[in-house]
């Protein structure tokens, strides 16, 4: 048994407010499939926040489900989606997108971010009609799988390029909370709603029991969307369960408070390790950091803490992945730093 787990941001249950609301409303009879009053209220809160009255919002239970429902709904069978190779859809969804019939055009990226040049290159390589797929959707994650975030300028460039090239832009926001709550962030949910065609806001990794809120901005992508959720097994009978998660998260800014805490905890570790002279694979301002540590040190730390390996760095060092969450205790973070430094291995 390890002292503490930095494996992910879903090791604990959920924020107590959610459990409280589940209890309070438990015996109210509600319609199923998202037609309950809590889901309706939660959707109104989100629409106000993004200032898009006409947005359509749906709740599904997890990130892979959100990704596969969105992508298979948006694309015709000959169309493809562009992603960095570390993107969740490209690397950690067991072929979920391909199982719906679509190719992922994946491009390498040192920091997990996709850039206009990457998209441009993919388009150029796919000019031989009709022998190749037609790239039609751009998939990015904010924050990325490497902890980095998109600045407003980044997003604006991607958005403009997509508009000019007849591509849709989609943000996987499984960790959107930590992204927009990070100290370096300069975009709001409203900006995101302005600059993308469709995105989702992650609940599972930011204090909910489960749930991702899919937000559809582009009118073309709204048509018949609900069918796709049902067809892919994502329509919850007790839609109230997901509705209550987002109702509580977006009442009184809880969503942002939880993410801010998660970010602070990781950044505290980051500062501690930087001060001790350790470096990082990416310059992450969020709750996911990638320290590069001596293999000997990693071996010792694995005995007392839980975390995942990211990969080899050089002959003597590897990168590890540390994730903090809304539930991470500050004492655990402090103890982690002090334990690590105590080994005195560089």
């Amino acid at each position: 048994m390890v002292k503490y787990n930095f494996k992910d941001d879903y090791s604990e249950g959920c924020h107590p407010n959610i459990l409280k609301k589940l209890s309070e409303t438990n015996f109210d009879q509600q319609d199923g499939y998202g037609d309950d009053e809590y889901s309706r209220e939660a959707k109104e809160l989100i629409k106000k926040l993004i200032e898009k009255e006409k947005a359509e919002i749906y709740f599904v239970s997890g990130g892979t489900q959100a990704n596969l429902v969105i992508i298979s709904s948006v694309l015709r069978s000959h169309e493809s989606v562009i992603s960095v190779s570390t993107g969740h859809i490209a690397s950690h969804e067991a072929g979920a997108i391909e199982a719906t019939g679509h190719k992922i055009n994946s491009v390498d990226s040192p920091d997990g971010k996709l850039r206009v040049d990457d998209i441009c290159k993919v388009l150029k390589e796919h000019e031989l009609v009709p022998h190749m797929v037609k790239p039609k959707l751009v998939y990015i994650s904010d924050s990325t799988e490497m902890g980095t975030i998109y600045k407003k300028e980044d997003l604006k460039e991607l958005s403009d390029y997509c508009k000019n090239n007849d591509l849709y832009l989609f943000i996987d926001g499984a960790r959107l909370g930590p992204a927009i709550s990070s100290i370096e962030n300069d975009i709001t949910l409203k900006d995101i709603a302005e600059l993308t065609d469709i995105f989702y806001i992650g609940g599972t990794k930011n204090g909910a029991l489960l749930g991702e809120a899919i937000v559809i901005i582009n009118k073309k992508l709204k048509e018949d969307f609900a069918f796709h959720i049902k067809q892919r097994g994502g329509l919850m009978s007790k839609g109230r369960v997901a509705g209550i998660q987002f109702l509580e998260l977006f009442k009184n800014d809880l969503f942002f408070q939880l993410a801010t805490h998660a970010d602070k905890m990781a950044q505290k570790i980051k500062t501690g390790l930087e001060e001790a002279g350790y470096s990082f694979l990416t310059d992450s301002p969020t709750n996911l950091i990638l320290p590069v540590l001596p293999d000997k040190l990693i071996k010792e730390m694995q005995k007392i803490y839980g975390f995942h390996m990211w990969g080899n760095f050089d002959d003597n060092r590897s990168t590890i992945r540390l994730i903090t969450s809304w539930a991470t205790k500050e004492e655990a973070v402090e103890e982690f730093i002090s334990d690590l430094l105590s080994f005195n291995i560089y």
Copy 2:
């Protein structure tokens, strides 16, 4: 606003024990994706109940998801699944099975039950190799979408026929609780594990917030099953949430108690209406009943109660669907009967 809702068995939240356990365990750190201790405990409880130590058990969030994961995992692309035309996969899953590439061979059935003769007929119609799909899986629901149940003899016949004809047998148990808790039932979970290749036990419709427990008996069907859950978006990050549902349901027989209550409530309505001279589309011993009522009476009742229409019966009468649940209040049932009789319409 209606007085009371008999639309479905997922109008309320969940049994309070589940909420209590969610609260008690909320801050325990657990591994994700079903590797938490509650999921492990719950699986052990189920294995003991079915007396199959080698069964593999997985939890997913809903019935359509369970159906599509199971069917797409079991079948090769040229193979099909046989179902009655009222089967959930054939009628109410927005083409989920076809979206994974498989044809459903659907056969009509007056009471929602599939019989050996139906299967036999399908096989005979599909002899023109390779111009037709190859039926390979038999899908039944217990209880059925029409409230009826399979007796041990029924299941034994289906099981024998499947074994002799190189077919797999799968039970959709979204309402398995109400089925095996009904007064007419003569089969146990252990019998089901003996007679089928794969089945699932429904939590969502029997007192859980969400969750279906997939039980794989046939060794051939176990290989790589987890990949399919992930690929179809059914792998919950916080697997603990589903684990806790089944842990509570199968601790102290809560699962059976809840189902027994649900059945009793519907049977009380059934008896009340039968005594008043109304008939039913099927002879259901479970929590879903299909009374045939004068259209005028239905119109009145719709003003004060929530329920779904099943279809026209004759020029003046239609069938309605009433569903009770673990949470249905006996007073509501009594009031429903008395309100209905008070209209004095036959």
Copy 3:
């Protein structure tokens, strides 16, 4: 060895004009993938015939391929296609349509023809959004799998209904030649182009080595169609081969002459059998007829002729399927009738 084969309309090679043209052009260098001059010429001939300059035409090698490319191109994943249950896509394509992810809503029809009432019923049964697929495409065959044909009035009614209900209309014309060349026919290729959104003209069953000509009328269905042919494996490198088939078939009305001969041969058998008192399952005016014959007579005839069984009719009689073609010899037809009558079994 049987004397003669009435199993199908693809037992022989192709009309000699096609072989001649293949030889004459054999060493001309041509671009691949349908960009050859013969394909271009053939397409111009067809466009003139249907009087639609803006139609888009593509050649693929077979009927199942044409069906699956068209249907998967036209539909989004939650949309379905309506067909009679004897329709080729519903019964004899090994689940090809479902393998592209789409449900077929099949309806029974005594004569293989689909009617407005059938479509209307399907739409009514699919009102529970989003729990069911969304019917979007109507598939009919002319002539049908039972030899019957659509009259202009039939087609007009279907076309109007589809337009008014936001449905696309598609004709599988694998046997369009025999249909529009039949004595009872009152529609032209031009009518078909007016009344449908997409259709194909069968070459394989009307004198070509292989090839179906897909004709797209509706502008919305033209976009990116070529990608779908390529993606489903239907794009021939040597597109010239298919182009030459249709060039020869539509030069000098060969297509219609061949179909007229095929029809005449079957109608001759039909008349012969009717005069002898035998009946037919459908009243077919085309090259596919379904005589109902005593089982004893069938047994004798199977020894000397090749044909397929359609099914049991009553305790002593069954329906057989006889198909004639462009290549059927009149003497063979006469001998068949005289042999049959000689058994004197009624």
Copy 4:
């Protein structure tokens, strides 16, 4: 109009023997779907050549079709196929493989050949079960898209590795003729049958009108294969057409003679250009060569010859793709070389 076309190996019709046989057999009645006597004879010839009496052989019309039928037949939905990124399935099939639900794990290769190290790396990257696809099939082309070939030692290494790692090995032989007829080749069709689980022999690019012969060696992969051909639209009604192609190609070694001629023609150009000091992107011994030429020279040659561009090489030079075939005239080749040299651009 250009003088001569080196764009591909399918610019002409077919070897005259095939047209002759088509004519001679034109009016013989034969069963459809590959049950004709020419297909049977052709299959026997191939089985003898590979010395595998139990091999199962099927003819389909083209390469993309062969690839998608084979891969979707072999893999379960969570399994993937490994290919070099220039592999036909990865780059030029419009997402055909993904459309059947499978991910392609693509790896870069400088010469178009896949090596054991590449496979090993893919397996290592896919250890996180069940979050990633499971690589199960290795796809290689011989000759490759870059003209290179596999030597016996290469193939042996791949075969051994696959056997030891529970992977299937599949050769796309669209250009298998030119590969095994090349001067550097040291493998036979028999070797290929020994070392792979499944492969196909290309007819379309080696003198046939159309047709690829799929050869299944591994018993596990034979089961129900025919269904998959039908389901994907690849089952030809007039199977005789494909059967006749392979009957003629494998009678009297025509297949090898045609390929040898194709190779010789390209090698003649290669020698001519090498002597003049030009280099090549790969060291190809087959009928597809990739000369690196000054952009100015390419511009001149494009005015008088047809060929495709492969890509930029450096600031002043690009790679072009020249393909010769069974039908390429030696004079055309000589003229090409002499025209090219006459520009005197280096």
